[in-house]
Symmetry: C2
Subunit: 245 residues, 2 copies
Amino acid sequence: MLQKTFETPAEQEIATDLPTSPCYSPVCLHRCRCFLAPEPASGDEKDGALRYARNETIYARGDKALYIYKVLEGSVRLSRVYADGRRQIVNFHASGDVFGSEFAAVYSTTAEAINDILVLRCPRLCVHHLAAADPDVNRKRLMMLSRSLDEAERHITMLGHQSARQRIASFFLSLDAKIRRDGSYAFDLPIGRQDIADYLGLTIETTCRALSDLKRRRILDTPSRRQIVVRDHAALKAIAEGAAI
Amino acid sequence: MLQKTFETPAEQEIATDLPTSPCYSPVCLHRCRCFLAPEPASGDEKDGALRYARNETIYARGDKALYIYKVLEGSVRLSRVYADGRRQIVNFHASGDVFGSEFAAVYSTTAEAINDILVLRCPRLCVHHLAAADPDVNRKRLMMLSRSLDEAERHITMLGHQSARQRIASFFLSLDAKIRRDGSYAFDLPIGRQDIADYLGLTIETTCRALSDLKRRRILDTPSRRQIVVRDHAALKAIAEGAAI
DNA sequence: CGGCATGTTGAAACGTTTCAACGAGAGTGG
DNA sequence: CCACTCTCGTTGAAACGTTTCAACATGCCG
């Protein structure tokens, strides 16, 4: 279960796309175009989609980056594993998100299924081929990477100087923005406590305590393990932004 | 000196390049091509380069992202400033590096000169124009963004679960790889302690203590404030990777 | 040489981690 | 259907590391 691709500072070369023959199959090209649409699954997209079971590895850090993926159902975590066994989750991806779209020769993170998932997979060479014909393809990839970078910078800032309670508050605020359905204040949490902890750079115990603290303050509620209700959005925001309380 | 663009979770829209007329001037186009070369300054590049004084702001987070920059001389820091006055440095850029190349409508970070610097500036629309003619332009931008994302992920992992001593060790290891000239084990540190602390997510005091600790262990030496000598590269690496010592 | 920014050290306060125990829920088989 | 088990989540108390506040040292520039 542990990755062999440990984190060691300084290595990893960035390279251009891998030099093999592209795939011209119309099915494949059609599928690749789906990556450009920001929306989640649309009917025929699901043809040829892949299933992964909970905790299954989609690709590992260091693997040749041959494919680009799009989540159709379920959630995916991108992480780096360390020699000491600890794990840093770098990003989560939900339905509609594209991942593995980096430009390096090998994947920089390990991608795993959080629950049972359905993903679309497209060979990078195919995307490359598409990009030669349509300059918009690389523009869209630039946009996606740019957004990832922005999220990464926000993540850095959070880890750099937010307390445990602030991190939890920020985390649920962003989840709230991403996941919340129309009027309801409740949403399903697709991930477990350990994953939250590994994303926030905390231990699972500290994560629990911070959560309990927010529950005691009646800012959050967790009717069940995997459900979150944001009771006081304003207070949550105040805490995330550094209110003394 | 404080930015008005505070960090608040959730906002910032990503947009395509800004819709104004591009610049077709040959000088400008030539300059833009320089961005594609990974090398530092080359003779005629310096025509029309801009100077910024130490601590001067090149652009602020939230400003319209009109230009892409390349460092010719000196160092630049990219940071985000918080309501509480603290600052997280997201990245450093030295001679030869390109920055501000994100695809969003506004800059996601503030760029400041660490010392007196010389930079090349190119309108993004111009780059855009170039990209329409030459698909390689967007490929190169993809590569640069991809590398930035990889660095950001490494940064996240460091902030997520490395101790102060480990962070310092990792930091000097990567600096060593970047800056070191040929045979010598010493290199000049282009930045001050506060900048290091703000990058590592530590206070300046903790940074100092960790440094002193490594000096006591004879792993590092600082002949002067801005000079670093790596005495025991292997030990530094061992610490960065989590050695108990 | 003084003055000011920058860097360094110490001691107490604080927050997070660690280690340990316990609770709650989901799935399985009797 | 209940009891069993296993994983996941929660809480407590002590240990640990970082921050804070304060003082002092050093280097740089006028």
